[in-house]
Each structure stands twice: as structure tokens, then as C-alpha cells.
């Protein structure tokens, strides 16, 4: 019987090697292309009619825009508008990648730590660079919260620095662990369905319920990634 971890294997579709470095087009790359195509088609075709009173598809496209715009307005404020395209792209990519990964026989792009770490690293580095460019040396005042007495600084500053450096790690790990654990659990229960034959109807019912949970988790994790990005942006722009 196949291991439940076999679904995460990277299989090269078009092997390409440049100077000893393997940059093949893999199943992961294929699904990233599929995700981006899906997002683009969803938004472009949805807005094709440009009706004043939106139809169903246009409504959904406008809702996704309004959702992120509202998120940025609430969590980052007025200066956050410049970062709307970034957060919107991030949210739509992760959302569609998570949902497309639930289709049987497909591949979940975000179930690999390197993908989620790349996304989290971009967010973390971007936010830190924005903060340093905007506040200069005062950025390091971020690590001593206002109102804390100065004699606590030797204790507080290392803790604050550590928790700041933990941000990209937790951001990446949260999405990766949710996706990997969810899909592994689905495969393990699916294995029981096959194993039990006729009585497999019980694990099948559990599987259906788990699928609903996984769908909720897929959407929720994309939302949490986006809202945490907005919160870190707020910290960078306003230094608490």
C-alpha cells in the first residue's frame, strides 16, 4: 500500500539542467501555472461585462477585491493602499493553491515548506525593508515597546527581537503544516476506506466531513496569511 506521504513527491515533467542546477518543470511548477491561470481567468473573465449591477461572476470578483481592500483599510490604514496589489496577489495565490490542491489527484503547491517559506520570506524581508526605509535608525526602537521602563530593556529587547525573527518561520510553518497535515490525514482515512471493504462506509462518512474541514482550513489559512501580512505591514509603517 502506498504511503500517505507519497502525494507530496515532486516529479519532474520536463527535466532542465543549467550548470549543474536542476531547474526542471515539475508537477509543482505545473500546478503553480494552473493556479495563476485560474486566478487570472477568474478575475479577467469575471470583470468582462463591467455591468453597473454586477452579475454573479462579477460579484465574486468584486467581493474578493473588496474583501482584501477592507482588510488593508482596517489593519494598515490609509498608507496601506500602496501595498494592496501585493497582499491581493498573495491572498488569491494561496487561496486558489489551497483549494485546487483539494481536487483528487492534484498537487497542493503550498504543502511544501520551500514554497511557503519563499512567500513568508518575501513578506518578512519586504516589511523589514519598508520599515527601515521609512523610519531609518528609529526602526530599532520597535523592539522596546513604549511605556516600558528602561531597566527592563536588557530583558525585553532580546525577547522582542527573537519574536520578530520568529515571524517568517511561524508564517511559513503555519500554512505548510496545515496543508501537509490535512492532506496526510485525508490520505490515511482514505486508506481505511479501501481496507475495510463493505464497512468502509464509516470512514467514508468521516472522509466527507474531513473534506469540509479541509476546505474551511484552506480558505482560513489564506485569510490568516493575508491578515498577518497586513498586521506586520502596520507594525512596519507605524512602529506600534
Amino acid at each position: 500500500m502506498a504511503s500517505p506521504l507519497q502525494q507530496f513527491e515532486i516529479k519532474p515533467i520536463a527535466p532542465i539542467e543549467v550548470g549543474g542546477v536542476d531547474i526542471s518543470f515539475t508537477n509543482s511548477s505545473l500546478f503553480m501555472v494552473i493556479v495563476i491561470t485560474a486566478v487570472t481567468l477568474f478575475l479577467v473573465l469575471g470583470m468582462r461585462k463591467r455591468a453597473m449591477v454586477p452579475g454573479r461572476w462579477q460579484s465574486m470578483a468584486e467581493l474578493s477585491y473588496e474583501f482584501i481592500a477592507g482588510l488593508i483599510r482596517e489593519n494598515v490604514g490609509h498608507e496601506g493602499r500602496a501595498y494592496f496589489p501585493f497582499v491581493f496577489t498573495l491572498f488569491m495565490f494561496i487561496l486558489f493553491a489551497n483549494i485546487i490542491g483539494l481536487i483528487p489527484y492534484s498537487f497542493t503547491v503550498t504543502s511544501h515548506i520551500i514554497v511557503t517559506f519563499a512567500l513568508a520570506a518575501v513578506v518578512f524581508l519586504g516589511v523589514t525593508v519598508i520599515a527601515i526605509l521609512k523610519h531609518g535608525v528609529k526602526f530599532f526602537g520597535f523592539f522596546l515597546p513604549p511605556g516600558a521602563p528602561i531597566y527592563l530593556a536588557p530583558l525585553m529587547v532580546p525577547i522582542e527581537v527573537l519574536s520578530y525573527l520568529a515571524r517568517p518561520v511561524t508564517l511559513a510553518l503555519r500554512l505548510f503544516a496545515n496543508m501537509m497535515a490535512g492532506h496526510t490525514l485525508l490520505k490515511v482515512i482514505a486508506g481505511f476506506v479501501v481496507l475495510l471493504g463493505l464497512f468502509g462506509i464509516a470512514p467514508l462518512a468521516v472522509l466527507v466531513a474531513l473534506f469540509l474541514l479541509e476546505l474551511i482550513v484552506a480558505i482560513l489559512q489564506a485569510y490568516v496569511f493575508a491578515i498577518l501580512t497586513c498586521i506586520y505591514l502596520h507594525d512596519a509603517l507605524h512602529l506600534h
Binding site: A177, A181, V217, L220, V224
Partner: protein
């Protein structure tokens, strides 16, 4: 003790931490229900933070599960 047996015991020990996560998620939603029961108008604001809180607590559950999987299959 064989490596296989040690792996299984290690994975079992690793998921003991999920008890804390169960308490945590219960706390988050208990606070949500209590605050909405006292002030139904706050549902939208409190609701948003509730889901963020739930995802953050669940992430800890998945860190524990990740360690268990790493011990079992790594």
C-alpha cells in the same frame, strides 16, 4: 529497543501537546460566545479576531503533529 518501536513511542509522546491546543481552542470560542451573548452588536468585530485566534492556536496543534510525523517518517 528497535528503532521502529522507538519511533512509534516518540510519535505518541509528541501528540500529548495537543491537549493544550484543545483547551486553547475551547477558550477562544468560549470567549467569543460569551462576548456575543453580552453584546450581540459586537459580533462582526469580535468574529474576525476569533477566526484569526483559532487559526493561530490550530497552528500550534499542527506544529506538534509535524514533529510527530517527522519522528515517525523522518
Amino acid at each position: 529497543m528497535s528503532v521502529e518501536a522507538a519511533k512509534l513511542i516518540g510519535a505518541g509522546l509528541a501528540v500529548i501537546g495537543l491537549a493544550g491546543v484543545g483547551v486553547g481552542i475551547g477558550n477562544v470560542f468560549s470567549a467569543f460566545i460569551t462576548s456575543v451573548a453580552r453584546n450581540p452588536a459586537a459580533q462582526a468585530t469580535v468574529g474576525t479576531m476569533t477566526w484569526v485566534g483559532f487559526a493561530l492556536v490550530e497552528a500550534v496543534a499542527l506544529y506538534a503533529l509535524l514533529i510527530a510525523f517527522l519522528i515517525l517518517f523522518g
